[in-house]
């Protein structure tokens, strides 16, 4: 029986092609493969389920075992956040044309290229920078590529990473910098967070600003939710040292926070996940890289970029790739790092998201998050045994320390039993913070949700 995915699995079609090709048996076509290359035994997988009913049933039976943030109350964030995804974002993400888009010509891909240009333009407006590449795999990748750009620009090979660092992201940065263990590596030095403030330790960083430092990497709001107050100072020190300042930012904060470029950042990177992408079990990551529109930076991008350009029709605008030759497609190992398939569909969605929000949407969303997260911190701080480590100057996330004897793991297990996903356990990654967890509050949380959490925590800790 023919398979629904394969028109030519119908016998007649196969026969047509076999006859036209002048063969008798399809096996003839594999004559290039030497006999001793053949698999020793056939692939032992179950036969295909030609029926979509069966496939659907099998998958839903499995996936129904999951418990999601939709029907549970979620306070997990930690570099990856549950924001509301407007229905229009999903609508556009689901359009077959975008979904199946390949790499056609500038004319046949025009709509997608325009959406990409609109992504870069709007993201540029958010970060207040004029040169933006197409997205890379993740925030971690963007940070790492940004740091690699800095090493090429400066010809130096050490990068300083300001704590608090997301272990996931830091892992990626280390890997991309080839670790610290071998030849030709970029050396990555992490300066621990200042536990008094939850912020980057500007003094300690400044101490490490040696002539070999290509870049300082700092994030704001940082991994623990704090808005970095020392950014301008750090950038000034770095510049004086001939180092680049690479700043990682959550773009959703940029309706209420000054863009890092205004504080001296040279290379701004960050995540695109909050801009209309679902949690997707972590499969919504995406990273951006943005700089001033200067050749010094532009010539070091490892990404592809779309630029607006003319067409043969006077007055008509279209889009083409700029600086393609410096990519790995254009120059193989001579190119800047490498590029390839990444998260381009999300880029279209990001463009939709930013267009929907506009300046007022970003400002209001920022305010809503500020208000909600501070409301929560304040409310939770009143629970006996709960301390908010740094109750001021944070955005969306804050650290709770529990001093009543229960471990964070125990607390989260008890909350889970009440259909609450408690905050990210920090005890392994930040032992210096004690028995702490990182709580995240976004526009998804109504006051009642926070009250529910407060009541549950009170009960659990009682």
């Amino acid at each position: 029986m023919a398979h629904p995915y394969m028109p030519s699995s119908a016998e007649k079609d196969k026969a047509t092609m076999i006859a036209a090709t002048g063969i008798v048996d399809i096996e003839e076509l594999f004559e290039q493969i030497p006999p001793d290359h053949y698999a020793k035994r056939p692939i032992n997988l179950p036969p295909g389920l030609r029926s979509e009913v069966a496939v659907h049933r099998h998958l839903t039976d499995l996936l129904r075992k999951n418990r999601s943030c939709a029907e549970n109350l979620n306070f997990l964030g930690a570099g990856y956040w549950q924001h509301y995804v407007p229905a229009v974002c999903d609508e556009i993400a689901g359009r077959s044309e975008f979904l199946t888009s390949v790499w056609g010509t500038p004319s046949s891909d025009h709509g997608r290229n325009q959406a990409w240009f609109e992504f870069a333009s709007q993201l540029g407006a958010l970060v207040d920078l004029e040169f933006v590449g197409l997205p890379v795999y993740s925030w971690g990748a963007a940070a790492a590529f940004g740091l690699r750009m800095a090493t090429r620009i400066t010809g130096r090979s050490t990068v300083l990473v300001a704590g608090p660092a997301d272990p996931e992201r830091l892992g990626v940065i280390r890997t991309y910098c080839a670790g610290e263990d071998g030849e030709d590596a970029i050396s990555v030095s992490v300066i621990p967070v200042d536990p008094a403030t939850g912020r980057a330790d500007v003094h300690a960083i400044s101490q490490q600003l040696s002539p070999d430092v290509a870049a300082v990497y700092v994030e704001t709001p940082n991994y623990l939710g704090q808005i970095e107050t020392g950014l301008a100072e750090l950038a000034r020190l770095a510049r004086a040292n001939g180092s680049e300042t690479v700043v990682g930012v959550d773009p959703i904060s940029l309706g209420v926070l000054v863009p890092p470029a205004r504080l001296g950042a040279d290379i701004v990177v960050g995540t695109t996940q909050p801009l209309g992408i679902h949690l997707n079990a972590g499969g919504g990551v995406g990273g951006f890289i943005a700089t001033r529109d200067e050749e010094r930076y532009a010539s070091q991008y490892p990404t592809l970029q779309v630029s607006i350009c003319d067409t043969l029709t006077p007055g008509e605008r279209a889009f083409g790739m700029t600086l393609f030759h410096q990519s790995s497609y254009g120059s193989r190992e001579q190119g800047n790092d490498w590029t390839g398939n990444s998260v381009y569909l999300w880029t279209v969605v990001n463009a939709v998201y930013m267009a929907l929000l506009g300046p007022a949407g970003f400002r209001e969303l920022g305010d809503t998050i500020l208000a909600g997260s501070h409301y929560a911190a304040e409310k939770l701080s009143r629970i006996p045994g709960v301390t908010v480590l740094w109750p001021d100057g944070f955005f969306k996330e804050f650290v709770l320390r529990f001093d009543d004897g229960y471990s964070v793991a125990d607390i989260n297990a008890a909350l889970l039993a009440k259909n609450i996903f408690g905050g990210k356990d920090l005890t392994a990654d930040f032992p210096e913070l004690g028995n702490s967890a990182l709580y995240c509050v976004t526009e998804m949380h109504a006051a009642a949700d926070i009250d529910t959490l407060a009541a549950a925590l009170t009960e659990v800790l009682a």
Partner: protein
């Protein structure tokens, strides 16, 4: 029969040119409490609003609907070679949209994601069965990222053996995908590229002449994009193993050999499958993608974490100490892993075998027809054996005759609802190359139509070269003038840059 076609043309403005002051596309929920200015540290509250458009929801929707109609994608016919354009079953698109996948946070407790972890684990097992490898991970966000992963695993492997200081070279071939040399270089290795011989294949002798105790790894794809299968690939692997190097099989061109060969049985230590190509996941214009990376038990300790294990009926994520750490945050693009799993469940061993058969048959069917078209020649015609799932052709003779390039022909083909072919990766060995890949998901009529359109356009070009040179004419926009693209004074990746460089106001006027 050539059909009349016209792409949707909406003459759509940029979103930044749309809307008007005060319009709203999305309104966040009101703040729970007063978001006083003091919630932001002094001097850090943004005072100049970002220069974003102000557009209502229906306008935003319609704008992007217009843009969507202005993308051909696989709504038209695309035989984009080296990318194995497949049918993307909508059933898994539908599943992936649902809360039980879309609304999962990566930091959730394992207990709450058992279904998902089970799929990851089952799929790992299935890919092991297909490749002979001992463990797969899905963290790499594309094929190049999987190649990079291999370079990093190679570092970790030799670092653990104390050989990283001497294992400085990664060998590849001139026909290997650029991501292999590029990621090897980014990982700090020197790249050695084996050139092609007269038969289009890099020779075993040439390989032998470059491998040594400095060789860290071989990174290569096979069959290559020209449809040539290296019959000495086992000897290649042996040669590299003999000097202590690792062998990585870039299995992007897996479609034609599915069910017939196993990377591990050929001796490879690691391989990668591209879920967004071979395994039925949508391309999305370039992702979200997954380069599934699989390796031998020997390399497993060097994999990035977390790994998914089944212990006592419970699925768990665990770190892999001593491994690469992370190549990307979290477990990978799991929505795409679920889709690939669903595809493989639907295909089964019989289905993947048949897909391989059909894709190789369809390519050879096309070759028979294409070679009958005047002006079309084949790469390395001396290689008379049937090609695999792709064949690289050349329009060199046609260009000599008419002055029209493969790019001109491609542009004109889009006027008939047929999207670009793949030409060639760097380096361009064949003049005016083109590389269609028929795959198993297009009907014979569609393949015939593609061929008919090519023949028609070549014909047109002989009769009226200007028509083809200035194509497309029935597309969304005309052919681009790329002269500004690499000019720092004219390129513009953002609207702000464009306006500045062209002295335009904020409305673009």
């Amino acid at each position: 029969m050539i059909k009349e076609f016209h792409a949707a043309r909406w003459s759509e403005p940029l979103i930044m040119e749309m809307g008007g002051p005060g319009r709203r596309g999305f309104v966040p929920p009101e703040p729970i409490a007063d978001p006083g200015r003091d919630l932001v540290p002094d001097g850090l509250r943004r005072s100049i609003a970002p220069d974003l458009p102000e557009v209502s929801e229906p306008e935003v929707l319609r704008h992007y609907l217009h843009l969507s109609q202005q993308v051909m994608g696989m709504v038209g016919i695309s035989l984009f070679g080296t990318c194995t354009m497949k049918y993307n079953p909508r059933v898994s698109q539908q599943l992936a949209r649902q809360d039980f996948l879309a609304q999962i946070h990566p930091h959730q407790d394992d207990a709450t994601v058992q279904g998902l972890l089970e799929i990851v684990h089952r799929f790992d097992l299935m890919l092991r069965e297909m490749s002979g490898m001992d463990r797969f991970i899905f963290q790499p966000g594309g094929g190049a990222a999987a190649a990079h992963t291999h370079a990093m695993v190679t570092r970790s492997y030799f670092a653990a053996r104390g050989e990283l200081g001497t294992r400085r070279e990664i060998v590849t071939s001139a026909q290997a995908h650029p991501c292999n040399p590029a990621t090897a270089a980014a990982a700090g290795f020197e790249v050695i590229t084996v050139p092609l011989g007269d038969d289009g294949l890099p020779s075993l002798d040439a390989l032998r002449s470059v491998v040594s105790e400095r060789t860290a790894a071989l990174m290569i794809n096979n069959p290559d994009d020209m449809g040539l299968y290296n019959p000495q690939i086992k000897q290649w692997v042996d040669a590299v193993h003999e000097v202590g190097g690792l062998c990585f099989y870039d299995h992007a061109n897996f479609n034609g050999v599915m069910g017939r060969i196993r990377a591990r049985e050929l001796g490879f230590d690691a391989c990668m499958f591209m879920l967004h190509k071979t395994f039925g996941v949508a391309k999305g214009g370039g992702g979200p993608a997954v380069g599934a990376y699989g390796c031998s038990a020997e390399l497993e300790p060097h994999l990035p974490g977390p790994l998914v294990d089944l212990d006592d009926g419970v699925y768990r994520r665990r770190e892999n100490p001593g491994g690469v750490g992370r190549v990307r945050e979290y477990l990978g693009n799991l929505t795409e892993v679920v889709k690939a799993y669903a595809w493989l469940v639907a295909m089964g061993s019989d289905g993947v075998r048949e897909a391989a058969d059909i894709s190789v048959l369809a390519n050879n069917y096309m070759e028979t027809r294409l070679m009958a078209i005047p002006g079309v020649s084949k790469s390395y015609p001396g290689m008379t054996k049937h090609r695999m799932e792709m064949t690289r052709y050349s329009l060199g003779d046609y260009t000599a005759e008419t002055g029209l390039t493969a790019a001109d022909v491609q542009n004109r083909m889009t006027d008939f609802g047929v999207d670009a072919f793949w030409m060639s990766h760097e380096p361009w060995i064949i003049p005016e190359p083109f590389t269609p890949e028929a795959g198993e998901a297009w009907s014979v009529e569609e393949l015939d139509y593609w061929i008919d359109v090519l023949a028609h356009v070549l014909d047109e070009g002989r009769r009226d070269p200007e028509l083809v040179r200035t194509a497309p004419h029935h597309q969304v926009v005309a052919k681009i003038d790329g002269s500004s693209l690499d000019d720092p004074n004219r390129w513009a990746t953002t609207w702000a840059a464009y306006r500045r460089k062209n002295n335009l106001g904020s409305d673009g006027a």
